[in-house]
Symmetry: C2
Subunit: 433 residues, 2 copies
C-alpha cells in the first residue's frame, strides 16, 4: 500500500518530511571498479575497451568493428516498421522545433564610459551521448539528448550504446540517424565513458558527455567530470499529480503508473483536495496494476514510494508541491495556468488533464531529461544551453580606462595584487604623458 | 625560465601538447577527512561547526555568535577608507548593469496543433556563498558571486567566511553589504559547506553553493553536490595574451604577471608573431619580477608554467588559442574584433591593448569567475543563469492530443512502457466516444 496522508492530521508534517527525505536508491559503491576501468582505458585504449566489452557484453570486437558501419546501420534501421518510423520522425520534428526556440542570443553594447561589453555563445565542438542497452534502451532518449546538441551546433556527436550479446536496438539506431548522428559505437559501461572522455586509437575524445546509465556509468561520469563536461546524474523518475474533484480517476491512475513502471525506485504522488478522488484513484491504480505488463516493477514502486495526500484546499497543494520540487508535475485542476504561475520549483509542468506526462516523454517538444530527487530546486532539464558556452567580451577605450581604471587599481591594491594594479597604472600613465 | 616555443620547430607539436597536458596542481586527497566533517555537521549541527571552528580557526563561537551581528558589520565596514568604498561601489554598479542584461526571458507559444508550449525561469530560493579567509579573501569575488544571485532574484543569500583568530576583512563585509547580503557567518572550511548544504540549528540550508575555496572546500562542494547545486570547481588561474609587434612589452609583461601573482600554479602564456616582441616581453617580465611584491609567488609560476610561443602568423595564434581554451584571453592585436570572432573556446576575451585583464577582475562588468584548466571547451563563467532554473511548460488541447497522441502511444509501446501508452489511449478513447 502507498502512503495515505491527510494534511490536516496532527502528525502530517512529520510524515511529509519523511516522504521528502526518503532514500529511494541504494547507492552501490562501484567507484573503485570504475576507477580501475578508466585507468585501463587511458593506458591501453582500444585494447582495454575491446577486452571489457568481451567480458561485460559477451561481444568480441576489433578496432574496426567498435563502430557500426554505415551498411550495418542501414540494414538495422530498415527493420523498423513504418508506423514507428513515422512516430519517431514526428517526435524529432517537435523536439527540434521546441529546442530551436531555446537558442540564446549574442549580445554586445557600449556603455556610457565608452567600453564595449557583451558575450558570445559558441557550441561545444564534440559531444558524446551514452545510451543504455537492454531494457532501458530508449530511442526517445536518443532524440532528447542528440537533438539539443545538433540544434546548438555541435559539429561532432558520437553515441555509445552497448549491445549485449551483439543484439542492437534498430529503433535506437534510427533515432540516432534521424537526429543527425553518424558516429555510433557498440560499447557501454564505464569503459565507453572513459573512451569518450580520453579518446582511444579509434575513438576521438569529446568535450561533453550526456545521457543516462547505470551505477557504473554514473560513477564514470562523475570521475571524468572536469576533463569533460557532463549533464546531471539522474535519479529514479518521479511524478506529482495535483488534481481537483473534476477528474477521471483512471486517467490519473495511469499517469501515476506511467512513472511507477519505469523503476521500482520511481515515485508517484497524488495531491488532491477531494477525499473521494483520493479514494477513487487509489482503487483505479490497484485495478490497472492487476493487468499491467510491468506490474512487477510498477507494483513495488507504488507500494513502497507511492503517496496520496489529501489537502484542505489547493493552495496547500501548491505549497507542498514547491517543497517537493517534482521532476514532473501534472496540474489536473480547473485553472491550471493560474496554479502554474505559483509553482516555484518543478522540472516540467503539464497543464490540464488533457496533458498526460507521457506526451512529454515523447512528442510534446520539451526535453524529457529533467532534474530528479528534488534537484529542481536548483537545476533545469536538458536544453541547448548544455551544449553551448558563453564567452564574455570587454573592450576598453583610453577614455573608458581613464574613467574606471583607477577604481580597478584601488581594489587591486586593497587585495594586495600589485601586478594587477600596475597593469592598469602603466596604461593610465601613458594617458597622462 | 619559462618555456620558449617556436611553432615552426619540428618538435613544436610535442612540446605544445606537453604544455596543454601539464598538471599544475597537486590534488591533495582530503576526501576522507571531509566526509567525516560533513557527517559530523549533519549529526551534531551547530555543536560540530563550533568545535571545528575552534580547532581550525582558533576561534571560540557560540550559536549566538556564529553570525555577524548588524552592529559588528556596521563597525567593521566603517573602517573602510572612502576611496576603497567608492571603488567597490563603482565595481558593484558595473557588475550589476552587466548581469541585469543576462536575465533570460520566459517564453510560450501555441503550435500549429494547438498545443501551448514554453518555459518559465525561476530563481533558486536560497544560495550560499563561500568566501575564503586569509590571503585569498577577495572582496571582488564577493561582488562577482553575490550580485548575479541578487539580480537573478534569489531571496536569501548567506555568506560564510572564516575569520582565523577572529580577524575579519572589513572590505569583504562591505562588499557583502553593497551586494545586498545580510546573513554572514564567520565559519569556513568543509564544516561551513556542510552547514550551508544540510543546515544546522541556527543556519538554514540553502539550495545552491558557489564561491572559491581550498582543497577542503572543493572536496566538500563535490560531496554535497546533488543535495544542493554547486558552481564549478575552479583550478589555478590562467591567461593567454596574443600580441602583434605593435605593443608595449611592459604592458604585456604586467598582464602576464597579474595572473602569475595569484598562485604558484597559475599559468601565463604569450603568443606572438613577432620574435622581437617575444624577447622584449621576456625581458620585461624579468625586470618587473625583480621588484614585484609577490615575486615569491609570481616567480615560480612564471618559471614553472609560463610560456612564450612564437608563431609564423596570427592565424596560427588563433588555432593554438582554441586548443588551449584559455580562461582569460587578451587580444593585443590591430584588429581584435576580427580575431575575437574566430575564437571558439575562451572564458573571457579582452579586446585590444587598452583592456588589461585586471579590468575584468574588478570593474569591467563581466564576471571574473571563469572556467579554468581548458574547461572553457564546455563551460561558461558564472552568470545569473547559475541562480535560475527553467521549468518547461506544455498544455495539450483535445485536438492537439488527437494529432500527436497516437505517435506517443506508438513510441511507448515500442519502448515496452504500457502504462505510458495507456495514459494517452484513455484520453484518445474519450475523444472517440
Amino acid at each position: 500500500m502507498p502512503v495515505f496522508l491527510n494534511a490536516t492530521d496532527p502528525d502530517f508534517e512529520t510524515a511529509f518530511a519523511a516522504l521528502l527525505g526518503a532514500k529511494r536508491e541504494d547507492s552501490v559503491d562501484v567507484d573503485d571498479v570504475v576507477a580501475g576501468i578508466i585507468a585501463d582505458v587511458r593506458a591501453r585504449g582500444d585494447a582495454a575497451v575491446i577486452e571489457l566489452t568481451a567480458k561485460f557484453d559477451r561481444l568480441e570486437l576489433t578496432p574496426e568493428t567498435l563502430r557500426f558501419s554505415e551498411a550495418e546501420v542501414e540494414a538495422l534501421v530498415a527493420q523498423v516498421p513504418d508506423h514507428e518510423r513515422a512516430a519517431l520522425e514526428l517526435a524529432a520534428e517537435r523536439i527540434r522545433a521546441y529546442h530551436v526556440r531555446q537558442m540564446p542570443q549574442d549580445h554586445s553594447w557600449t556603455d556610457p564610459e565608452g567600453a564595449m561589453l557583451g558575450w558570445r555563445w559558441t557550441p561545444v565542438s564534440a559531444a558524446g551521448l551514452y545510451v543504455p542497452g537492454g531494457l532501458a534502451s530508449y530511442p526517445s532518449s536518443v532524440l532528447m539528448n542528440a537533438i539539443p546538441a545538433k540544434v546548438a551546433g555541435v559539429e561532432r556527436l558520437a553515441i555509445v550504446v552497448p549491445t549485449p550479446n551483439g543484439v542492437a536496438n534498430p529503433l535506437v539506431l534510427l533515432a540516432a540517424r534521424i537526429a543527425g548522428v553518424n558516429e555510433i559505437y557498440r560499447i557501454g559501461g564505464a569503459q565507453a565513458v572513459a573512451a569518450l572522455a580520453y579518446g582511444t586509437q579509434t575513438i576521438a575524445p569529446v568535450d561533453k558527455i550526456t545521457g543516462p546509465g547505470n551505477a557504473f556509468v554514473a560513477a564514470a561520469k562523475r570521475r571524468v567530470f572536469g576533463k569533460v563536461g557532463i549533464d546531471m546524474i539522474a535519479g529514479p523518475s518521479e511524478i506529482l499529480v495535483i488534481a481537483d474533484a473534476d477528474n477521471d480517476p483512471d486517467w490519473l491512475a495511469l499517469d501515476l503508473l506511467s512513472q511507477a513502471e519505469h523503476d521500482e525506485s520511481a515515485q508517484s504522488i497524488l495531491i488532491t483536495d477531494s477525499p473521494a478522488m483520493a479514494k477513487a484513484v487509489a482503487a483505479a491504480v490497484e485495478r490497472n496494476l492487476a493487468t499491467l505488463e510491468r506490474r512487477a516493477i510498477a507494483g513495488p514502486s507504488w507500494r513502497d514510494f507511492g503517496a496520496i495526500i489529501t489537502v484542505p484546499d489547493l493552495d496547500m497543494a501548491v505549497e507542498l508541491s514547491n517543497r517537493i520540487a517534482p521532476e514532473h508535475l501534472e496540474l489536473c485542476v480547473a485553472d491550471a495556468d493560474a496554479m502554474s504561475a505559483r509553482i516555484t520549483h518543478a522540472g516540467a509542468i503539464f497543464l490540464g488533464a488533457w496533458t498526460p506526462e507521457a506526451i512529454g516523454d515523447y512528442v510534446g517538444g520539451p526535453n524529457h531529461v529533467l532534474p530528479t530527487a528534488r534537484s529542481a530546486r536548483f537545476s533545469s532539464g536538458l536544453s541547448v544551453l548544455d551544449f553551448l558556452k558563453r564567452t564574455t567580451l570587454a573592450r576598453m577605450t583610453p577614455a573608458a580606462l581613464r574613467a574606471i581604471g583607477p577604481a580597478a587599481e584601488t581594489l587591486a591594491i586593497s587585495e594586495s595584487l600589485e601586478a594587477h594594479g600596475l597593469s592598469v597604472r602603466a596604461r593610465l600613465n601613458r594617458l597622462n604623458e
